[in-house]
Amino acid sequence: MFFNIAPSALILLIIALCCGAQATENAPHNSAYGDAFVIGVIGEPSVLIPMLATDSASHDIASLIYSGLIKYDTDLRIIGDLAESWDISPDGLTIIFHLRKDVVWEDGTPFTADDVLYGFKTITDPSTPTAYAEEYKQVQSAEVLDAHTFRVTYRQPYAPALTSWGNMTVLPRHLLEGSSIQKSPLVRKAVGTGPFRLKEWVPGEKLTLVASPSYFDGRPYLDAYICRFIPDPATQFLELQAGTIDCMSLTPLQYSRQTNSSYFLQHFQKFTYPTFSYTYLAFNFLHPWFQDKRVRQAIAHAINRREIVDGVLLGLGEVATSPYVPHTWPYNPNVPEYVYDPQRAIQLLDEAGWHLRDNDGVRIRDGKRFEFTILTNMGNTLRLNTATIIQWRLAQVGIKVNIRVIEWSTLINEFIDKKRFEALLLGWSIGVDPDQYDIWHSSKTGTKELNFISYANTDVDRLLEAGRRTFDMAERKRIYGEFQKIIAEDVPYIFLYVPYALPIVHRRFQNIQPAPIGITYNIHRWYVPREMQRYRLIP
């Protein structure tokens, strides 16, 4: 197996491949090199410079071309990528990155600390249209100490700081200096230090990446990574069935009902891992009914979340109990949980003064019927189905729920920004860092800010502030554990579920090792045995 190849043999092999020579064909060890990975995606990337990109399609591709100073290991801990190591000063104000010395840009120019400084200057430049500048505003100064040492100093300790030095701020200075970043040809013809290089991008059709022979962690075994843009999910599934794409993301229905034929079992492998996101039901704290904690708790008890996971996601997800993904380090499993208990819900509603008087089955307090509307966005059937189940369950405890589905921009601009809602059924994608200051802190309730439910709790505020001021992981785990307990007790949101990502990949790809972070983190180590290879790249 190729695992046993001595490093020197590997280097020889890479050189042989660089020259385009096929002389190594007889060598037994190179059987793992070659073939292409063809993935079908719904959305097309728009720009390949990470700091300008806002869509996940762009970031997915850019992350194969650009490396960052740091990255996450399989268990979501921060490890070095272009940075070999780093030192954080005891007061938490200064980080010194020691960069790798063996990294070159794909045109052969060595990667140095100047490239990082250039990236930092560009992202903080007011004329750069980026959505990510805020994190770098906390930086007091950034300096190049020598070609491979880079120092940043913060105004105050800022724990998410380290995670911000991913591929956002690494740019090839020698190609960009002196020109405006948005006008640069690099926007569509990326030049990076990562495992793959951009070969061709045909808008509306496909994007081809080829293995980078100069990648510091070794040339990827696959020759090419081809991304085909297929906007219709049903078409994409047919392409998979016809064997013309090797990988796509399945829906829960496709995963559990449509991919169990002998054809699929023989040719494909399916994976599941929790996504970094959760779906929730949020209450507007400006609405008098929902200011009563008992009402929120009653609703939590009246909803059977297991039933939602089983019915809507066909079991392909996890019940969410906090704003963190289960099995990740900040997640606290020991929080008060709201098991499905309609009797308890009825009792809490009675305590809160909501009583059943008439025969129409809707509770009344001060002459007002307990009737509210859940808003959700158009185009997400999972959310609509979830809302429908909630509607049915709440009717059983005497609460009438209406559902309104609204187009995304209208929902944001007309309802959320103006706080004209009673309850929302939406989802958050969350970062790997546990800092959630912007969603829960009481200072973040302005227009366009993310605490749109107007939640305020001084203990939560204190914990969120403390959590971003320390780098100590054990301490942060304690702080965010405490924060989750308060949130669980307060029920500002009812956390519903964490859906699974459901990728399906052709069986010929070997060495896929699923981890909490997903499957593609080691794509440069995937390989296809020679006899199973399907595509050959024409130089």
């Binding site: 959505a131 049903a234 200051y437 366009k448």
Partner: protein, 332 residues
């Protein structure tokens, strides 16, 4: 005739600017802004950053100023740059000079619509004539049923069924896209064949509604013509049946169809949105759908201008054809 065309072309100018003015204001009525995709529910954005982005895209100015700025560029044939993060010029998105002509978005959509238009005419005219010539016969009944089913069935559903049969089960045609992955390695003839194979299903799907509609219209109009007095005269004077049907009846029956076709040009572009999305075809329909979803004003306006122009030209051609086939109109 030339003078007529010139007059009509001149008349298009105010109409064109009226269309752009109306469109420019109407698209601003939709909630949301182009910058929303950067700023909505983004924890890392501050009000200052939002204002800066709006200023960058010129959205902080009053609409009328934005329109004047846009117009002053358009008269110089500059449709501006897209608001999406790739920031490419609008014209380059629609007509990219760096790729082969057949790959340019406008060409892709144009080609599919032209081929499907030809297909519609080739199929619909004989079907319509035949159905009208023998009304209520078995052939009329069968074509009616087939045509109505084709008209009523949703296009996306037909598309999926065809893909399952011809691509997954039989493997005759590719499912989506306009070129195969190994396109570059093919010989020139094989490359054209490859393109044609990719076009087969989309062209069929986009034509099937048209075939149904046109053949029914033609049947009705043909029935009416065949029962008029001049046909009786033609037959009475002993003309061969084929001359009666094709020269005397069909030419008259085609008149309303010409008007119909002139009016359906904007429908072609709108219909492209559906099948280009299903078949993953990089054409104008796909581009306009993405642009509308992202509130990419310059691209939307660019596409609207092209559609408006095409519609006006389509109407002009229809009128010219009308005049050509009906001498009475030429006189006026």
């Amino acid at each position: 005739m030339l003078f007529y065309c010139f007059k009509r072309l001149l008349g298009m100018v105010p109409v064109f600017f009226g269309v752009t003015l109306l469109s420019f204001f109407i698209i601003q009525l939709a909630p949301g802004k182009p910058t929303d995709r950067l700023t909505d529910l983004n924890p890392r954005i501050t009000p200052e950053a939002r204002a800066r982005l709006e200023q960058y895209y010129g959205l902080d100015k009053p609409i009328i100023i934005q329109y004047v700025a846009w117009l002053s560029r358009v008269v110089r044939f500059d449709f501006g740059t897209s608001f999406s993060s790739d920031a490419r010029p609008v014209l380059e998105k629609i007509w990219d000079r760096s790729v082969p002509v057949l790959d340019r978005r406008l060409m892709v959509t144009f080609l599919i619509n032209v081929i499907s238009f030809v297909l519609i005419m080739i199929v619909a005219v004989p079907v319509g004539v035949l159905a009208a010539y023998r009304p209520h016969s078995w052939i009329d009944r069968i074509t009616s049923v087939v045509v109505f089913v084709g008209f009523a069935a949703p296009k996306f559903w037909i598309a999926l069924l065809l893909m399952m049969l011809f691509s997954v089960t039989l493997g005759w045609f590719p499912i989506s896209g306009i070129k195969s992955l190994h396109y570059a390695s093919l010989s020139e003839t094989a490359q054209y064949l490859d393109r044609l194979r990719h076009l087969a299903l989309p062209v069929f799907v986009s034509a099937c509604g048209g075939i149904a509609g046109i053949s029914r219209y033609l049947r009705a109009s043909m029935l009416e013509t065949l029962s008029s007095d001049f046909i009786v005269t033609a037959r009475a004077k002993g003309l061969p049946e084929s001359t009666v049907v094709f020269r005397h009846a069909l030419r008259n029956a085609l008149l309303p169809i010409i008007t119909l076709l002139g009016l359906s040009v904007p429908g072609f572009v709108a219909g492209s949105v559906i099948f280009e999305t299903i078949f993953g075809i990089p054409g104008m329909g796909q581009l306009s759908y993405q642009a509308i979803m992202m509130r990419d004003y310059p691209v939307i306006m660019g596409l609207l201008c092209i559609t408006a122009l095409l519609t006006m030209i389509g109407n002009l051609i229809a009128d010219v054809c009308y005049a050509y086939s009906d001498p009475r109109i030429r006189m006026r």
